[in-house]
């Protein structure tokens, strides 16, 4: 870095010399993970454009094409690259749409947890006193119960409260709520810590003296400084949320099979595991594991890169 000390730097150079970016470019695992994650996210987000079929449109499904093996195996058909499931849905399209749903549910849940956690964390750190004590006590208590169990419990209760007719329709939202609600304490803790540090800095003190309202100080000055650790937690949280969703769906408590997520696909495919239709389970399972692995790898790298102490 010292080489460029006295030269005028372009914006790109500044970006490149940023220690995080430097660490990223020099960590093949991270680049690989980011590439896979980005690819997966793009493929899923643009699933309607990429996928050869729309598996959610019953008019496009032909039962006679059901249970076909992948294209490279005898009996497979070229238009169904990864074969078809028991209903005659194209596996590739179903996985793309399922992955899309999995990522969307995971991301929505993390967002919910993040918004809730960051808000409560900043308030807790900034206001202090009894508010702080109450919020952090709740967070502590919740942190002692593993997230997946809490998600199963909240989801079970949520489903029980819904009348039967609405259970399928609202299943997705219940799952998001269940996972999101288990996620927030991590965010709250980190944000609170960062807030405590920032709140005592001179510029914040100054802002207070000028008489800026509390919410403005929190929003404009404190929040931006908590973003780094929050980003790390969000990334790792995304992997966990995707697993949680898949687990709920696998247990039959999550996304219904009419609009399957990856977990639902694995559950349905599991019924066909012994009958030789391995592609109905294996491909969604691979998709899920690769997706989660990539996000985890990315999160791991981010934690190390953003926390120099651990390097």
């Amino acid at each position: 870095m010292s080489l460029q000390e006295n030269r005028p730097t372009t914006r790109w150079q500044r970006v490149r010399d940023n220690d995080i970016v430097w660490s990223f470019i020099h960590s093949p695992g991270a680049v690989f993970a980011a590439a896979i994650t980005l690819f997966a996210i793009l493929a899923c987000v643009f699933a309607p454009l990429i996928a050869p079929f729309d598996p959610f449109d019953p008019a496009q499904i032909s039962l006679w094409d059901g249970k076909l093996p992948p294209a490279w195996i005898e009996g497979g058909q070229p238009q169904y690259l990864l074969g078809t499931d028991n209903q005659g849905r194209d596996m590739l399209s179903t996985i793309l749409y399922g992955g899309r749903l999995s990522i969307m549910v995971g991301a929505a849940a993390v967002c919910l947890g993040m918004v809730l956690g960051v808000t409560l964390g900043v308030i807790s750190g900034y206001v202090g006193g009894v508010t702080d004590a109450i919020i952090m006590r709740i967070a502590d208590v919740q942190l002692t119960i593993p997230g997946i169990l809490l998600a199963i419990l909240i989801n079970g209760i949520g489903r029980a409260f819904l009348p039967l007719e609405l259970r399928q329709e609202f299943a997705v939202y219940v799952v998001i709520l269940a996972i999101g609600l288990t996620d927030w304490p991590q965010f709250a803790r980190v944000t609170r810590g960062a807030t405590l540090v920032e709140a005592n800095k001179e510029y914040v003190q100054a802002a207070r003296i000028i008489g800026l309202p509390g919410w403005l100080i929190m929003l404009r000055h404190i929040l931006p400084n908590t973003l780094r650790p929050v980003l790390v937690i969000a990334t790792i949280g995304l992997a966990l949320a995707i697993i949680a969703e898949a687990t709920l769906s696998f247990l039959g408590q999550g996304i219904p099979p009419t609009t399957p997520s990856l977990g639902t696909l694995i559950r349905v495919g599991n019924d066909y595991l012994f009958s030789g239709l391995w592609w109905i389970t294996l491909f969604p399972a691979i998709a899920l594991v690769v997706l989660v692995f990539a996000v985890n790898l990315l999160g791991d790298w981010m934690r190390d890169a953003l926390n120099p102490k651990l390097r």
């Binding site: 119960i145 593993p146 997946i148 169990l149 199963i152 209760i157 898949a246 687990t247 694995i266 012994f274």
Partner: protein
């Protein structure tokens, strides 16, 4: 000390109060409880009579008090589906879950700590790198996929071990154990491995990180400067200091195992409390759901209480902080 324990106790009571309120509300807001008990053809008069018998027309607080009173005696009523007392059902299935968790905990702790120390000491050996990469894959593998894969390979393909259920049990009073017969061990081994894998990777990584940190501390550097053998440094000094947080690990570990036992029990049809809960959710069998909720909360509150107190005893820094 007493103040600290009292504070934790008060916290535990608060948690239980909240959880019991939630599980009480399950009974009252999930459909009409009367509909769950009578046949389709019950008359209006019958329904009213049952409402009165169950005290459903009393003020909500009276009902809650009654629920609490019953719950304290372990009485959660009859299961809607099996028509048997719920506390009995849970007690019957508790040994299965506890034994599964116990065996998994042993596997996770022994293997996890061993590998953690190894990778901590041999930071740059290629074996360590492989172990670490595999552990990251382990974190990314959902429990149910591991379970399916193990069943496929060891039960269906190789036919070495049973695929599901809990056979070879022996009874000691109300406690049924599967740890005394070969059949029992054959049945428990696959679910226990499945359940332990995730915790194992967590422990491995925690111990390794702890080990790395300890190795950087001054007293290890001094020990090295004194010319002590690597062996002595690793095992007499580093390891001992690494194992202080092991209590937290065990607490974490047991909590996590109980949580994931729900999934493992479903995959392996292991007749424990977790499987019962999932079946209850399917049937909206509210008494079982409510009881399980209270039961799990109680378990966690107890584990955390014990861990906190042990920690307090072991680590003087917390005592000072208070």
């Amino acid at each position: 000390m007493i103040f600290f324990v009292l504070k934790r106790l008060a916290q535990s009571v608060l948690v239980m109060a909240i959880v019991s309120a939630v599980s009480f509300s399950l009974f009252n807001f999930v459909g009409d409880p009367v509909n769950n008990m009578v046949g389709q053809d019950a008359t209006r008069e019958q329904r009213i009579e049952i409402r009165q018998q169950l005290g459903l027309d009393d003020p909500i607080l009276t009902q809650y008090a009654r629920f609490l009173g019953n719950a304290l005696q372990g009485d959660f009523g009859l299961s809607y589906r099996i028509k048997r007392p719920v506390d009995e059902l849970i007690l019957e299935r508790l040994p299965a879950t506890l034994e599964l968790v116990f065996v998994s905990a042993i596997i996770a702790l022994v293997v996890g700590i061993t590998l953690g120390i190894y990778t901590g000491i041999r930071r740059s050996a290629w074996t360590s790198r492989i172990i670490l990469s595999v552990s990251l894959v382990g974190v990314s593998l959902p429990t149910f996929i591991i379970g399916i894969a193990l069943i496929y390979v060891f039960a269906v393909h190789l036919r070495w071990l049973p695929s599901s259920g809990r056979s070879g049990t022996m009874e000691f009073g109300w406690w049924k154990t599967s740890l005394l017969t070969i059949d029992g061990w054959r049945a428990i081994i696959l679910p226990a491995i499945t359940l332990s894998l995730f915790q194992l990777t967590l422990i491995l990584r925690l111990v390794r990180a702890e080990m790395l940190e300890v190795m950087q501390t001054d007293f290890i550097k001094f020990a090295r400067a004194r010319g002590l053998s690597e062996r002595a440094i690793n095992f007499r000094h580093a390891l001992r200091n690494t194992l202080v947080p092991v209590i937290t690990i065990i607490g974490l570990n047991i909590g996590g195992l109980i949580a994931f036992s729900v999934i493992t029990e479903t995959v392996f049809q292991w007749p424990g409390t977790g499987l019962m809960f999932i079946q209850a959710v399917d049937f909206v069998d509210v008494p079982i759901m409510a009881a399980y909720l209270v039961f799990v909360a109680l378990l966690f509150v107890l584990i955390n209480l014990v861990v906190d107190i042990l920690y307090f005893v072991v680590d003087p820094r917390i005592r000072l902080g208070n």
